[in-house]
């Protein structure tokens, strides 16, 4: 188990490092942002003066070493636009994003788990068909379209919910629905197929033949094994939810890190983009690590591999 953990951890560190290098150089491909911070009539001398003050006239490798050295100490520099610590800005917006992602994940699981089980058990019957149709539809709608339809219907037409902003639970309903649609569909389909597979296996037949209650067979014996691939996907979906939150937050004016990321990219606020990307990489890598560990706990065979 220890060897397993160490290998995984090393992988994780390598991935985060690679992402940091990539974002540093990729974001600089389009030129430095000096001119975009100045009014259109700024003269060339003014642009060069400000560039020098910001340090963007230094050789790129030197700027990179600075970035790396400071990042290792947890210092991602000041936001070029807000003039505040870049990582601080990202972390400040984290609660809003976590709130939204957690709500969406909870909603997804609350729908997907019962639906996945139901469709597997009812395989081929009406409930199954309906469930599959539902998940196909959920998977097919792009988030931005679904989000705008929700706003049109629930805010503009029926005036049930506020179209945007963060505040009470009413503000959370539509963004969570929009964000959850895709994950719900994926998890439902996956859980259904693993359940079907597991339900056909020998040990289930044995369990049934022992005369165990159908509920016990499904929820205790089958679900536990069917859960393994599902947990992988749920783990991946957490990443996807955080990613998908970028668009959802933008449409519902939800003050989370996704919105900050989009603004920072359009504003060419390098330091914030770097802080955001590195933070997301750490987060997603950690979730994957956690999923790996969870596997190992659920399935002893993985541990020994």
């Amino acid at each position: 188990m220890l060897a397993f953990l160490v290998t995984r951890l090393l992988h994780a560190v390598g991935v985060v490092f690679g992402v940091a290098v990539a974002v540093f150089f990729l974001i600089r491909l389009g030129g430095d942002p000096t001119a975009l911070f100045l009014p259109p009539e700024a003269t060339l001398e003014e642009i060069q003066r400000v560039r020098h003050l910001m340090g963007f006239d230094r050789p790129l490798p030197l700027q990179f070493l600075d970035f790396l050295g400071n990042a290792l100490r947890g210092d991602f520099g000041l936001s070029l636009r807000y003039e505040q610590p870049a990582m601080g800005l990202v972390l400040e917006r984290l609660p809003a994003t976590l709130e939204l992602s957690a709500a969406a994940l909870a909603l997804s699981l609350a729908i997907a788990v019962p639906l996945g089980i139901l469709t597997a058990v009812q395989r081929g019957r009406v409930a199954d068909r309906a469930g599959l149709l539902f998940s196909l539809v959920g998977q097919s709608f792009p988030v931005f379209w679904l989000a705008i339809m929700l706003i049109l219907l629930l805010s503009e037409t029926w005036q049930l919910l506020p179209p945007s902003g963060r505040g009470g639970w009413q503000n959370l309903v539509m963004p969570a629905m929009a964000l959850a649609a895709y994950s719900t569909a994926i998890i439902t389909r996956l859980l259904r197929s693993s359940m079907i597979e597991v339900l056909q296996s020998d040990y289930i037949r044995t369990a049934r033949s022992k005369g165990l209650a159908s509920g016990t067979v499904i929820f205790v014996h089958a679900l536990r094994n069917a859960a393994i691939p599902t947990i992988t996907v749920v783990g991946l979906q957490v990443g996807a939810l955080l990613g998908g939150a970028v668009i959802t937050e933008e449409i519902f004016a939800w003050p989370g890190i996704g919105r900050l990321a989009i603004q920072s990219i359009t504003n060419r606020d390098f330091t914030v983009v770097q802080a955001f990307v590195v933070f997301m990489a750490v987060l997603i890598v950690s979730i994957n690590l956690l999923v790996d560990i969870l596997y190992a706990l659920l399935d002893p065979r993985i541990r020994r591999r």
């Binding site: 003039e83 506020p162 505040g167």
Partner: protein, 502 residues
């Protein structure tokens, strides 16, 4: 806000038909709270440390400048009561007395000096420093009089001092100035209450405002980037001023609980010709031909629903020295073809177009339509739409080629023609010694009548030599609550001093 409190009640089974009146009641219960939805949040609460219009709109509610611009585009007293030129390189301002900052500090000549000393200090890195850079020094004459000294006569001083010159908003000297980024202290009509980043900036009325207590008790700026969401907020009563709507949104917002405000902005759409490289654009006849080839009126009708303002030269129609008698080149494709033949391009030619896209209202559609018109007279255009960062890079090495659609604004010829046409200027792709001399003269003359005469002459040369194809001032469109009395301005700044519900 109130609607949120109603929502559980509504969700518990009221018929949909009853909801609309419910929310209207809620809107009234809000009292005099005005919610403005614009694309972006403020970046800071320090007026001198940003370069963004949405931020400037928030700052303009909290701070004042020495002068302000009224809805007709004329300069009016704000913190300065009057101004004069004791000599050509001095602008003297007599300040309003008895004005206090929100923290109780007195506004006086020291505050003015402090504001400009701070923003002009290169180390301070005020992004809009270049707009005030001509100011050599600010001298306190007495407690209520200041002199602005310039190296050369500076006729456009007032443009450097009003609210669109961001760094010119007056801040308090001393300790308060250190904390402006988070806790703004101005002399303006609204005081700071709360800033929840990326969510809202909340301000309240300053009851002691020198211009009279504003009609609104509270003002909330909300950043909502998605246009559909902004409109949904307006429709559902969650916002009262919604910036940046499109002509297509207009019909849906006219009538009922919403309306539309429309004004021709001072922004300028035009093609700028690169005459520095060896291309057909070096030939004046070709440039004139292009002016004849594109039907700008038709483009304005078709793409902007006739909104905005056609211009006869690259200058807003209400700019200083603009003469309504000026006429653009008429649309005349036959004449365009004749001029091209005369210049030796009877078979046409191919030319690049350098621009960004999706930056301004319908910019891409207008460029594409123009390309279509040019094709009809034999000019083939290779459009090169650049990413903003790349555009800046390309501009810096003077790499804009062919037809350039960059956009510009400015309500004085010196602010527009000087940087775009004078030989060697960073953004100039043109050289004409005769015009250079006139534009140099215009910027070093204080007397308005004399300046008008100079710019009338300059316009003759510009029209004849055609370094531009002037097109139009695009419209600024706002969605408003039907019961709101508020007027937009050509410069796009949102002034809430007179805003009131009817």
């Amino acid at each position: 806000m109130k609607r949120r409190d109603f929502a559980p009640l509504l969700g518990s089974g009221l018929a949909a038909s009853m909801l609309a009146p419910g929310s209207r009641v809620a809107a009234q219960a809000q009292g005099r709270t005005l919610v403005i939805a614009q694309q972006n949040d403020a970046l800071t609460m320090d007026p001198a440390r940003h370069s963004a219009f949405p931020t400037a709109n928030v700052m303009f509610a909290i701070y004042d400048g020495l002068v302000t611009m009224d809805e007709k585009g004329e300069f009016k007293p704000a913190l300065a009561l009057s101004w004069s030129n004791p000599d050509p390189t001095t602008w003297r301002f007599v300040l309003r007395q008895g004005v206090k900052f929100h923290n109780g500090q007195d506004f006086d000549a020291n505050a003015v000096k402090f504001t400009f000393d701070r923003a002009l200090n290169p180390e301070f890195r005020a992004p809009y420093r270049s707009r005030i850079a001509a100011i050599r020094s600010v001298q306190v004459v007495d407690r209520h009089t200041v002199d602005f000294k310039t190296a050369a006569p500076f006729p456009t001083m007032l443009f450097s001092l009003y609210e669109a010159s961001f760094a010119a908003m007056i801040v308090p000297p001393g300790e308060a100035a250190e904390k402006l980024a988070a806790t703004p202290v101005g002399t303006g009509p609204f005081r700071f209450v709360e800033w929840r980043r990326d969510d809202r900036v909340v301000l309240e009325a300053n009851p002691d405002y020198w211009g009279g207590r504003p009609a609104m008790d509270r003002v909330i700026f909300r950043p909502i980037r998605e246009p559909r969401t902004r409109i949904a907020e307006l429709r559902s009563g969650g916002a009262h001023i919604v910036a940046d709507i499109t002509p297509e949104d207009m019909p849906g917002l006219q009538g009922g609980s919403t309306k539309v405000a429309n004004i021709a902005s001072e922004f300028l759409y035009f093609f700028h010709f690169d005459t520095t490289r060896d291309t057909p654009l070096k030939d004046r006849r070709v440039r004139q031909a292009i002016n004849h080839a594109i039907d700008v009126d038709a483009i304005q009708r078709a793409l902007l629903g006739g909104l905005g303002q056609r211009i006869a030269t690259v200058l807003p129609t209400d700019a200083f020295a603009y003469d309504p008698a000026w006429k653009p080149y008429p649309y005349d494709p036959a004449r365009a073809r004749a001029l091209l033949a005369e210049a030796g391009y009877a078979d046409g030619f191919t030319i690049p177009l350098t621009s960004r896209r999706g930056r301004y209202l319908k910019d891409f559609e207008i460029m594409e339509a123009s390309i279509g018109y040019l094709r009809r007279v034999g000019i083939r255009v290779n459009a090169n739409y650049l990413e903003p960062g790349v555009w800046a890079q390309v501009s810096e090495r003077k790499g804009r080629e062919g037809l350039i659609f960059g956009g510009w604004s400015g309500r004085d010829p010196d602010l527009v023609w000087y940087p775009l046409l004078v030989t060697g200027q960073y953004q100039s792709y043109y050289s004409n010694p005769q015009l250079d001399a006139l534009l140099q003269q215009g910027r070093s003359t204080i007397d308005p009548a004399e300046r008008r005469r100079i710019y009338a002459q300059a316009r003759e040369i510009i029209h004849e030599d055609a370094p531009f194809l002037p097109m139009l001032q695009p419209p600024l469109l706002y969605g408003l609550a039907a019961n709101l009395d508020w007027a937009p301005r050509t410069d796009g700044m949102i002034n809430l001093r007179q805003a009131r519900f009817t």
